[in-house]
């Protein structure tokens, strides 16, 4: 094979190899590539998997900077903790004061007029079958749960347990 033939053939091959330049990964693949690398580096430094916290902190760099500042400067971390504690105490104190103020201004539950539920229980010997409990609550009023519970407990107290006697034909 002569040199000119080689050159010519390689020219054809060069054209064919140009096809390789058009092979491209899925669209947007490189948008996420560096992020994946950084996440894997961070996970590797901690010796574990990529966590949601890692992803969040990488997507919010300001949070990363704050965290780094807190890690490197103990005074800043202490001040931050002090501010948080102050806010918590202030919140508790303010909440107590607000409760006291609302207690004097708002009417109590006892004085509020609530709809009363009337319940009636039927015969004591057959409390459930003869006459079912009839409750007539209004569609918007609450059921007086304490009263109905008491009535039901009294009815249970009147129940008697008797030994069962079963006899089958042909049995000895």
């Amino acid at each position: 094979m002569s040199m000119s033939e080689d050159t010519e053939n390689f020219e054809q091959l060069r054209r064919l190899l140009a096809l390789k330049r058009h092979e491209q990964p899925p669209p947007g693949y490189f948008n996420d590539f560096s992020r994946q690398v950084v996440l894997r580096i961070r996970a590797g430094e901690r010796g574990g998997e990529v966590t949601i916290l890692d992803q969040f902190s990488w997507e919010a760099p300001w949070l990363q900077r704050i965290w780094a500042a807190l890690e490197t400067k103990p005074i800043l971390a202490g001040a931050f903790g002090l501010v948080l504690c102050s806010l918590l105490i202030a919140g508790v104190v303010f909440a107590d004061k607000a409760d006291v103020a609302s207690g004097t201004a708002a009417p109590s539950l006892e004085t509020a007029s609530l709809p009363i539920v009337q319940a009636s229980i039927g015969a004591a010997d057959q409390p459930f079958l003869a006459r079912p409990v009839s409750l007539e609550p209004s569609s918007t009023g609450p059921i007086d749960a304490a009263k109905t519970d008491e009535l039901l407990l009294n009815a249970f107290g009147k129940l008697r347990a008797e030994p069962a006697s079963l006899s089958f034909p042909g049995a000895r």
Partner: protein, 216 residues
């Protein structure tokens, strides 16, 4: 063996030698500044470096493996390894060449361990492929296979590439596909320019034989 080096050196940590400038337009000073910051643990700076070279590194690994998933893993691992080894990078060569060597070494080690030829998982051809003048000329030539589609041609070409040895495939990939100079390839492959030329010639001959039906 192209990746041969001192016995004390780890395979995936290339030596730090003077090198040619990277083909990208990245300013070396700015790049060194980013490297310095990344060496101190600044991941935002390293993210910037990754963005600069991710496409070239991925493409090289992809053309070597002909598998998108493998290329994704290997390219990411190369950048991770580079970050971990940044302290050994003194700045004598460009970061670009240094990370390139890491990616190439990782890929060749991976291909040696992959005993059976893995399934190809090829990337799609972009829209411009049909309008590429080289390809248009090739397809429109009066060849016995002129009716062949681009997708089939892509598959045959990748299959032929996979038949080459790793050093020959790498030489073709870096020169004929990615357009690097012989000198750059010599630095990346850690051999002299003559060896690069020789490998390139032999690889082309092999490819020409494998693809003879499509090159008449």
């Amino acid at each position: 063996m192209i990746m041969a080096g001192p016995a004390s050196r780890k395979a995936s940590e290339p030596p730090d030698e003077p090198d040619v400038a990277p083909p990208s337009a990245a300013a070396p000073v700015e790049e060194m500044e980013l490297v310095k910051r990344a060496r101190k643990g600044d991941l935002a700076a390293y993210d910037d470096l990754v963005r600069r070279y991710q496409e070239r590194i991925y493409a090289t690994v992809y053309h070597m493996t002909a598998n998108h998933e493998d290329a994704n893993d290997l390219a990411q691992e190369a950048f991770i390894k580079a970050f971990q080894a940044l302290k050994s990078f003194k700045g004598g060569s460009s970061f670009y060449t240094w990370v390139y060597r890491i990616a190439v070494n990782k890929t060749i080690n991976f291909l040696k361990q992959r005993r059976n030829k893995g399934q190809m998982s090829l990337d799609d051809l972009d829209f411009n492929a049909e309008h590429d003048p080289d390809l248009v000329a090739l397809i429109s030539d009066k060849t016995p296979r002129r009716e062949v589609g681009l997708a089939e041609l892509q598959e045959k070409l990748n299959a032929a590439m996979q038949k080459l040895s790793e050093p020959h495939r790498l030489a073709v990939t870096l020169h004929d596909v990615q357009g690097l100079s012989h000198e750059e390839i010599a630095k990346i492959m850690e051999c002299n320019v003559g060896t690069v030329r020789s490998r390139l010639f032999y690889a082309r001959q092999q490819l020409q034989a494998y693809l003879s039906d499509y090159l008449k």
